[in-house]
Structure formats: structure tokens, C-alpha cells
Symmetry: C2
Subunit: 236 residues, 2 copies
């Protein structure tokens, strides 16, 4: 059962300033606000499904999203995450291809706006700033995925898990107690790292024993980031 909620207005959107929409004009904002739709999602609900067509882009107003593909054996592979202010679904729209990944919400009360294709295209052609930001997002993302490819191809599971924790830290940040601000199951962690759930469980226990992290259910506290970085074998 979906709760009632205030439909977010772009004019007052808290995540606007840190999004691709941060410096569009007043008239564009109101146009955007009029053209968009917005939906609330419970934890685990599907926002869009791999293989489908999309007719616009989605903008995360509140909550956290995982984007994943289903591999040939039916196993989920998490490709990336999105949070407040991020857009998703733009890849399929701009390449005019089916969605390459599915998106589901990771938290209750996730709010996601939908901006129709027509409006997106209009902003691309009429607002060079928006256009360049889009090019920047895409090309940055492409660089990140290339790094992931190299890691998956060359690093052992232990290093990849350590690196995943650091990436999750950078993506969702730590609270004041150094806990990573996202809760994922062991299985989901395995589906990022590209390994078996049991391996994640074992390695997390090792990291804990080595005082790199501490665990409380799905909450992971980073106790020693430099040592974790060394474990991940990253130097940048």
C-alpha cells in the first residue's frame, strides 16, 4: 500500500543543487517541474527493468538505488548505485537502446522523479551547460567502469572486496561513527565483487579479525581505512 506524499516540486527540490539540474534557469525549472512525474517506492521495488525501453530519465529525489544486470546463469551483477540527486536510465535513452540494467530501491520511501524524453532532449539542445554536464557524467562513468573491468580481471577476491568497501564509502559516505551509510546483504556484496556469498562472509570475518572493520548486522564500520586501502591494493 503506497502512502500519500507531497509531490516534490523541482523549485524546492533539496537534491537539485547537487544534481545535473543545479544551474538551470528559473523558467527551465518550472518547465521541468510541470513535465515530470514522481513515484514512491518501498524497499526492493523495481524502478525499471533490464531489456525494456525507456521514454525518459529518472532522477532520484530520495533514497538509494542499485543497478544490476542478470547474468547468463540468472545471477545478479550489481553495476553501480545511485543516490539522491543522481539520474538513472539516461544511458538507454541517449543510446536509443533497451535498458542495460534493472534498478531497484534499497530503502523504504525512495522517491524518484521521471522526466520525459522530450523534455530531456529539449534541455540538451537548449542548455549547453546541461549538455556538457551530461557528457561529463557519461564519460566519468565510463572511466569508472573501465577501472572496474581491470580490477575484476586482475585482482583476487580479497582485494576486490576491500576495494568495494572503499567505493561504497566514497559513494554513500560514512556517518560520524565511520559506518558506511548503506545496508547491503552479504549476497549483494558478493554481487558487486563477483564472488560467492560464502566468500564474502568469510572475508568480512577476516577483515573484522584483522581490525580493518567491525560488523553489526549489515552495518559495516571502517576502523582502518589506510590498511583497507593497502588490502585493496589501490594507489591513487
Amino acid at each position: 500500500m503506497k502512502k500519500k506524499f507531497e509531490i516534490p516540486q523541482c523549485e524546492t527540490c533539496g537534491s537539485k543543487h547537487k544534481s545535473i539540474f543545479c544551474d538551470i534557469s528559473k523558467s527551465e525549472v518550472s518547465e521541468l517541474s510541470d513535465s515530470k512525474g514522481c513515484n514512491l517506492y518501498n524497499k526492493g521495488q523495481v524502478v525499471f527493468h533490464e531489456g525494456n525501453r525507456t521514454n525518459g530519465i529518472y532522477c532520484v529525489n530520495k533514497g538509494k538505488i542499485k543497478l544490476f544486470q542478470i547474468g547468463s546463469e540468472g545471477k545478479e551483477q550489481i553495476i553501480r548505485f545511485a543516490k539522491e540527486g543522481d539520474i538513472i536510465g539516461y544511458r538507454a535513452l541517449l543510446s536509443d537502446e533497451p535498458l542495460s540494467a534493472s534498478a531497484t530501491s534499497l530503502e523504504e520511501d525512495t522517491a524518484i522523479c521521471f522526466i520525459p524524453k522530450q523534455q530531456v532532449l529539449k534541455m540538451i539542445t537548449e542548455n549547453p551547460n546541461f549538455n556538457f554536464k551530461l557528457l561529463k557524467i557519461l564519460s566519468h562513468e565510463l572511466g569508472e567502469t573501465a577501472k572496474i573491468i581491470t580490477d575484476l580481471a586482475q585482482k583476487p577476491v580479497r582485494e576486490r572486496l576491500a576495494e568495494t568497501l572503499l567505493i561504497l564509502k566514497d559513494t554513500f559516505e560514512l556517518d560520524d561513527e565511520k559506518n558506511i551509510q548503506v545496508k547491503l546483504s552479504r549476497e549483494e556484496l558478493a554481487n558487486i565483487v563477483g564472488t560467492a556469498t560464502e566468500s564474502v562472509i568469510r572475508l568480512l570475518s577476516e577483515f573484522k579479525k584483522d581490525k580493518l572493520i567491525s560488523l553489526d548486522g549489515r552495518t559495516i564500520k571502517l576502523l582502518n581505512i589506510p590498511a583497507l586501502t593497502r588490502t585493496a591494493n589501490v594507489f591513487d
Copy 2:
């Protein structure tokens, strides 16, 4: 020692029609031709180096290019290839980040033009067609890398090698004898697949024994594409 060669003119460029520049105006073509530079490369020469800054994009006029990253243990990971008509280096330019990969030529007499940043930015702002093509290239590429991530994370080496052969087929095409039109060392194949050179050698021998391919030095003939597709475990 670099041979003399006719500097290619964009007006008469044979690869223009199949590139991002296929439908720019006459005046834009001549502007492009004036602003660009062009270089010849021998086999194995570096076009650009990971970590450096770039001040423009490169357009492959003739020849084949591999793009790769160096992993934390110094091992090369091939991210993608480029051929006649393809552009490279655009990711770094558009994201305003250092180059995420190195590029080297795979053949003698590779010719690559360089288009300065200023010219690229001008075309982006002034030619919506060019702009959308760029967005399309980036987003398509992003979709391809996502697939590769899922495969690397989930498929065994045998399947990945079979799939690599099929991707090479699609990228460089077959000649009339069904030979893949690119010559790579076993080590380079390993650096695509994410495995050891010895594993590639062994698996190629198996594929040969199973009549999926035949081998003549670095030339790979695809004898049974449907069976290779099944071996790769792909269904699309």
C-alpha cells in the same frame, strides 16, 4: 624512421562517412581539416599514455588500436579496440580527467588525426547532430562495458574466451575465409579475457580440437560460429 605520407584531408577522408563526422557541413569539414593534425604510427607505437592529460580527441584514419589500462601488478588489461573511423581519447577530454587508458597501434602505417579541444567543443555547441552522436557513442560504450563487467564477474575463462573471439569478429569482421581480421598475440588475448597466457593457449587448442576454430599463427578462423556462441553462453 617515419615515412613521408600524404596528410589526409577531411574532405577526402575515406573513413569520414562511417564516423561521427559523417554528416557535418562542408564548411565544418574544411574547418576541421585545417585545425586537425595527423600522425603515422608503426606497430606497437604509443598514441597516448594513461594518466596524461589530453587536449583534443584522436580519430583513427587507418589501422587498428588497442586501449588498455595497467593494473596494480603491472599487467595490461585491454579495455577496448578502435579502428578506422573511430574516435579515441574523447572520454578524458569530456570528463576533464586524465586519460584512463593508453592507446597503441596494432598495425604498421596506422594514421591518426588529432582534433584540438577547441574545435571539438565548437562542434558540440554548434552542431546538435554531432553532439547527439557523441552522446550516443558514450552511452553505447557504457552499455558495452557493463556487459563486460557482468561477464568477467560471472563467466568462467572458457566462456569468456569464446565470447572474446565473437566480439573480435563483430569489431574487426571476418575476411572471405572466415578469419578474424585482427592479429593478436596469445598474451593480448589473455589481457582481454582476464586470464593467464597459458590458459589462452590451452583453450585455443581445445577449441581447435573441437573444430570451433582453426589456427595459423595469430590468424584465427571461425569454423563454427553457432557452436562458439553456445560455448560463450550468450543468448542475444
